[in-house]
């Protein structure tokens, strides 16, 4: 299911959502991150790393950006276990916890999404600019893009896991 979700989002981002950027370089969303963030926090670290890498490979192939997303996806996949540990509740994750608003709460969801988006955009910014003198100028657009990606992921999240749906299901 996770793999299918990633493949679908890669497809949509590459062919339909790639131009959804209202303020140009200041708001470049990475929609596929949402699929990665839906990996359960209890999952194996290797799975997170592998899926991060695979997501990057998929995006690179679909968007023709050889290596950029692969690098950023690997960084995020490698740091995702640490992020999950960082945002873990005091008593730890329950076996039945899913990384959704209903189970983890809004602060967990927003915090984790923004942190992951920031890491991903920072890694992308590093491999897009490369030269040290270009990096200070790219920091602010990276930050705003991370915020925009967070908003996009939350919108997707609310669309798929809508609160009223939760109520009706329960």
């Amino acid at each position: 299911m996770i793999v299918v979700r990633i493949l679908l989002l890669v497809f949509f981002q590459a062919f339909f959502l790639r131009d959804v950027s209202p303020l140009g370089e200041w708001t470049r969303p990475e929609w596929t991150l949402w699929a990665l963030l839906l990996i359960p926090p209890q999952a194996n670290s290797f799975l997170k790393l592998t899926l991060g890498f695979a997501m990057g490979v998929g995006l690179d192939i679909a968007m023709g950006s050889y290596g950029h997303h692969m690098f950023a996806g690997t960084v995020l996949g490698g740091l995702l276990p640490a992020l999950h540990r960082l945002f873990a509740p005091r008593e730890g994750y329950e076996i039945s916890d899913h990384p959704i608003l209903r189970d983890m709460g809004s602060s967990w969801l927003v915090g984790l999404t923004f942190s992951a988006a920031l890491i991903y955009h920072l890694a992308l910014m590093l491999v897009s600019n490369w030269y040290w003198h270009l990096i200070p100028g790219a920091l602010l657009p990276t930050l705003t893009s991370a915020v925009f990606t967070t908003l996009c992921c939350l919108v997707l999240h609310l669309m798929v896991y809508a609160p009223d749906r939760r109520k009706s299901s329960s």
Binding site: G67, F71, T74, V127
Partner: protein, 270 residues
């Protein structure tokens, strides 16, 4: 091996992360020109810095070895320089009226304090008593007695005589002689303690004894010993002429020798 396996297992995630990062970077560098140039610029600077540092350490660690090599090379160059100095060629000095006649040594010094040396020619070759004799351009001795076809030479390796010489071309005049002990070393006598002399200094003829012109190579200072409380220092000298293997000799002839002899004789003095 088991420990290594356990270590790999323990750090498997980190190793996998590093491996995937390496794959990503290699794909990136292979396809992105700007990334490639920046990467090589950065890594080139770092590798240069590391190599420079490593080179510095390795040079520091090799100092002793290099020092020994340099000392050896220095010694070889010094000995070559010394042999070059000794291989001086005497050129006839017609400006100062000195010419040469060649001869052959048939009996050289044998290491005994007062052993005579015999050479050819004698009177038949125009050789006269008192002429200076050179070997290989260096002072060898003086003609002591002349026969019809042979002559007897008083060499520097004769303990019964001394030679006027100079330390360096413009140094003080001293007396050079042999103590009859070591055939490889002559002794400078009457050198005041304050005179500057050190190992390697050249000793030349002063020209005062009328047998040699000035500035003919006699030898090289081997050792200087300033004894405490003594007015004079002892200086040992390696002779420039090779007394053990000399064959060809040059007899020095001064064209106005009779005039010099007459002027220097005691009969004319008041």
């Amino acid at each position: 091996m088991r420990n290594l396996w356990l270590l790999l297992q323990r750090n498997a995630f980190t190793l996998a992360f590093i491996a995937l990062m390496a794959v990503s970077l290699s794909v990136l560098l292979r396809n992105d020109g700007a990334a490639r140039s920046s990467w090589f610029k950065q890594t080139g600077a770092i590798s240069y810095m590391i190599d420079h540092q490593r080179h510095g350490w390795s040079n520091y660690l090799r100092l002793a070895e290099q020092n020994a090599e340099l000392a050896e090379e220095n010694a070889e160059l010094r000995s070559r320089l010394l042999s070059m100095d000794m291989a001086t060629e005497w050129v006839e000095d017609t400006v100062r009226h000195w010419t040469v006649r060649s001869g052959m040594l048939i009996k050289g010094p044998d290491g005994k304090p007062r052993s005579p040396s015999i050479a050819t020619p004698g009177l038949d070759g125009g050789i006269e008593a008192g002429m200076g004799v050179l070997s290989g351009g260096a002072a060898f001795g003086t003609v002591e007695e002349v026969g019809e076809a042979h002559c007897r030479i008083l060499t520097l390796m004769h303990s019964g005589t001394s030679w006027s010489c100079r330390i360096g071309r413009h140094g003080p005049v001293a007396s050079l002689g042999w103590d009859g002990m070591d055939m490889g070393l002559l002794q400078l006598r009457d050198v005041p303690r304050h005179v500057q002399a050190q190992r390697g200094d050249s000793i030349f003829t002063s020209g005062y004894d009328l047998r040699f012109p000035a500035d003919v190579m006699m030898g090289t200072v081997f050792d200087v010993d300033r004894h405490t409380g003594a007015d004079f220092m002892s200086v040992s000298v390696v002779p420039a002429a090779d007394f053990k293997s000399s064959r060809h000799l040059d007899f020095l002839v001064h064209q106005a020798d009779s005039e010099r002899t007459a002027l220097s004789s005691t009969e004319l003095q008041p």
